[in-house]
């Protein structure tokens, strides 16, 4: 690795080249900062002050205690799962290259195999944590999923991950074979392109969906889409009732593939029409503010430096062109991803807040929004005001308390 002393020696030995490198790095940093600034933009008024909402006023103390217990277990389980993930990958980085003997493929094929086996070991190590989460959700009647079904489902998902890892390593190692240590400069944009393609086509990967049939909701979607300047957006229903009782919705795709997907658990009668309108408006808000594309933009801002760091860290194993570097690359990439997770959560929370604001602007129905957020909390047992560490690490949405506070801020702003 390039230490400060060597950097200084390099600067003294070749000042012109070093200055040029520094300038390129500065230019890159500036471009990164400008891009991040542009992506950071939000339509939520910058001066908006959220009032302090006391969860004890909106929720019973027994619920607060129950939801807190529920989330604490899942948070700790997830944290242990991630520590296990890191531990497995550290061990794999040390001795995973020995599995090269199991390959008759060339360097790229062997690298793909090592990549897949790395995630296979991670999957094996994480099975108990997944089962523990299922057990906890079943115990609290949030999930109906069976243990065997859960393992089989995650095993099949692992197949998808294998395909993704193979593709990514195939691209990176092929480029590294030509460009050596500069592979990341080409591979990272390719990954971003693939992510863009994946975001565009993601609607076709959502299972168990069908077109929304309910006339009232269809009419609401049509009306709200016009209000939010995304006319013609289609809505679909995803069947999840057999697996969970938790309500949810999502927006996927962009351009001609953009869709709002409502879970059938949202339309089972527990939520009023006005509450479903708020959910729909929230998802349309994501589409209206191009959050899918923004996510890809943020991914690019993460991937380019991350790939450069991976390139740097794999040099001791001969660079990513060599299959023996793959276990190290996996560890480096996953570690960077875990480190970046809190930052990505900040971005996600900002997008969600903008979608909430957009929903309020479209529906002008703060009471329905408040009622929705309360019900979301009670039906999913999510704590309205989780502990800070959990919020920082896992909070990809504002807390329920923050969301209710935003509704109140919106009301206050309207009344002024």
């Amino acid at each position: 690795m390039l230490g400060p002393r060597r950097l200084w020696e390099g600067l003294r030995a070749r000042p012109l080249r070093s200055a040029a490198t520094l300038l390129v790095a500065l230019g890159f940093g500036l471009a990164w900062a400008l891009a991040a600034h542009a992506l950071w933009h939000s339509t939520v008024p910058s001066g908006l002050r959220l009032p302090r909402v006391d969860p004890r006023q909106a929720f019973s103390s027994s619920f607060l205690e129950r939801s807190s217990d529920y989330e604490r277990f899942l948070d700790i389980d997830a944290l242990l799962g991630e520590l296990t993930l890191l531990l497995v990958l550290v061990l794999y980085a040390r001795s995973g290259h020995k599995l090269m003997r199991e390959s008759a493929a060339g360097r790229i094929g062997t690298g793909m195999m090592l990549g897949m086996l790395g995630f296979a070991l991670v999957w094996l190590a994480e099975v108990p944590f997944g089962l523990a989460a299922v057990w906890w959700q079943r115990r609290h009647h949030i999930s109906h999923k069976g243990y065997v079904d859960s393992v089989i489902e995650s095993f099949l998902q692992l197949g998808g991950r294998f395909l993704f890892v193979s593709l990514a390593l195939g691209v990176a190692m092929a480029v590294a074979g030509v460009l050596r240590r500069w592979w990341w400069a080409v591979a990272a944009p390719v990954f971003v392109g693939l992510a863009l393609l994946s975001a565009y086509l993601s609607v076709y990967l959502v299972p168990n969906t069908h077109a929304l049939q309910e006339p009232q909701t269809v009419a609401d979607v049509r009306e709200l889409a016009k209000v939010e300047h995304v006319p013609g957006t289609k809505a679909e229903v995803q069947y999840v009732e057999r697996e969970t009782t938790a309500p949810n919705a999502e927006s996927v795709g962009f351009g001609s593939t953009r869709r709002v997907i409502l879970w059938d658990t949202l339309l089972d009668g527990r939520f009023s029409r006005r509450e479903v309108r708020v959910v729909t408006a929230h998802e349309l808000g994501h589409l209206a503010h191009h959050h899918t594309l923004k996510r890809v933009g943020w991914l690019a801002l993460f991937l380019i430096p991350a790939a450069a760091i991976v390139a740097l860290l794999t040099r001791r194993r001969g660079g990513l062109a060599r299959p023996e570097a793959v276990p190290v690359a996996l560890l480096a990439f996953v570690a960077l991803q875990l480190l970046a997770a809190p930052l990505m959560s900040v971005v996600s929370r900002r997008d969600e807040a903008e979608a909430d604001w957009s929903a309020l602007q479209a529906t002008h129905d703060p009471s329905a929004a408040k009622s929705l957020f309360r019900k979301l909390s009670t039906t999913t047992l999510s704590s309205p005001d989780p502990p800070t560490w959990s919020y920082v690490l896992n909070g990809d949405h504002p807390t329920i308390a923050q969301r209710i506070a935003m509704v109140e801020a919106w009301q206050a702003r309207g009344s002024r």
Binding site: M112, M116, L117, L158, F162
Partner: protein, 447 residues
């Protein structure tokens, strides 16, 4: 003529010549035997239960019961050989020795009471394999019930069906089909001998061990079996998922191969030989497909490459250089290949079952049973020959029977010749049983 080191040995002294009239009416001629087999089968069922209890108590099968059951297995094998066209003369009704396809069953020996007690459970993997090699469950059970062949087609039945047409046309049973049938008969005899406690040795699915005299052929597409039997438990457990990128790549390549094969058909039809570049491209595709399925079905251990490079995989489909091809055979290739496709379907079932059984066995022992490996290799070799025939890489028709494989032949004496300890099913597919010579494979330079 002893043909295998398994104590239950099949011997074949058949000249392949068949009388067309008896073949045409074979099923009808077999009716008296069906009736006799069924009647005898009822008694055998009762005798088998008594034998089980007696062996469990005494530790060895009583001689009269053993002889009675052995005679039945011999008779059933002879009758099946006749009915399924593996032999020509009308068989006797007593299973006496001397029939062109005959089975030798050793005298009773001491058996482990544990394996006797759980024989019904231990039999299950072999039963699964028998469904592919001999026929479906109803086909197998009919050996005791007699008749009722509405069951699934196995290798034995399909070889007989195809052989029926071939004999009517040529007056002789093709060697490949006869050997395929004999392989199935050998496995069937070993299966029933194991089920009736006539032996403690597990049925051996290895086609190299089933028949003593296998032809050494040099087909334009043939197999080179290398590599050891060691399997990594990790890659075995995730084998199906690890193959996903290959299967996707194979599909994409397959689209191009389909288009290329159409061009190849026209080119071969007009010029009489396949263009060199198409031959290379389609050969690489065939090799790649072979590597992927060898990996997926656990016939091979290492993760294969993505290019189908020759010599890159321990189990290799060797493809000859392009040669002049008969234009008639080229023109009607898709019709000519139909019988081979039927047989390829049966071999495909065999390969799938081998994969399932080998998955459990390799996970438990980190080693692929030799018998299963060679049975899978036979299935894959046939599949490769059929695909090569379809892709016009050769106009030599796929050879349906097992052939002597140089590497496997080198392995076989080491496996079969090793003295098996009492109760150790050496050279077989016994779950949990180790093959004595398997550990010597790397030393033999086969790794």
């Amino acid at each position: 003529m002893p043909v295998s080191e398994h104590p239950v040995r099949l011997s074949v002294s058949d000249d392949l010549v068949r009388e067309r009239v008896t073949v045409f009416f074979r099923a009808l001629l077999a009716i008296p035997h069906f009736i006799w087999l069924a009647l005898w089968g009822i008694v055998v069922l009762l005798a088998a239960i008594v034998n089980w209890l007696a062996t469990l108590i005494l530790g060895r099968s009583p001689q009269p019961l053993h002889d009675f059951l052995a005679a039945y297995v011999k008779y059933a094998t002879q009758f099946y050989a006749y009915w399924q066209l593996a032999a020509d003369p009308y068989p006797r009704f007593d299973g006496r020795a001397g029939y062109p396809v005959d089975v030798t069953i050793p005298p009773p020996v001491r058996q482990s009471r544990w394996t006797v007690a759980f024989r019904g459970i231990l039999l299950l993997p072999a039963l699964l394999l028998a469904t592919a090699i001999v026929g479906g469950p109803s086909g197998i059970s009919s050996i005791t019930r007699g008749g009722n062949y509405s069951g699934n087609f196995g290798l034995l039945h399909l070889a007989a069906l195809l052989g029926w047409f071939a004999i009517l046309a040529r007056g002789a049973m093709p060697r490949g089909l006869r050997d395929a049938a004999a392989y199935a008969l050998s496995y069937g005899a070993q299966f029933w001998a194991y089920a009736f406690l006539l032996t403690e040795r597990y049925p051996n699915s290895d086609p190299q061990a089933a028949l003593a005299e296998l032809p050494s052929r040099s087909d334009p597409i043939h197999l080179e079996v290398g590599g050891d039997l060691r399997r990594s438990r990790l890659t075995v457990f995730f084998r199906g998922l690890l193959a996903i990128p290959h299967l996707v790549w194979l599909q994409l390549w397959g689209i191009l191969a389909l288009l290329a094969s159409i061009v190849n058909w026209f080119a071969t039809l007009f010029t009489g030989r396949s263009p060199a570049w198409l031959h290379r491209f389609l050969s690489a595709y065939l090799r790649y497909q072979f590597h992927v399925y060898a990996f997926l079905y656990l016939i091979g251990n290492p993760f294969p490459g993505f290019a189908g490079r020759a010599g890159s995989y321990p189990i290799e489909a060797l493809i000859a250089e392009r040669e002049r091809q008969n234009r008639w055979k080229t023109g009607f290739r898709l019709i000519l290949v139909l019988p081979a496709l039927l047989l390829a379907g049966v071999y495909g079932s065999l390969a799938s079952l081998v994969a399932v059984l080998a998955w459990f066995s390799s996970l438990a022992r980190a080693r692929m049973p030799l018998g299963l490996r060679n049975a899978g290799a036979l299935a894959l070799r046939y599949h490769a020959q059929v695909l090569g025939y379809v892709l016009l890489l050769t106009d030599t028709y796929p050879y349906s029977g097992p052939v002597r494989d140089a590497a496997a032949a080198a392995e076989q004496p080491a496996i079969a010749g090793a003295p098996a300890p009492a109760g150790e099913p050496s050279g077989s597919d016994a779950p949990g049983a180790d093959q004595p010579a398997a550990s010597t494979l790397p030393e033999l330079g086969l790794s």
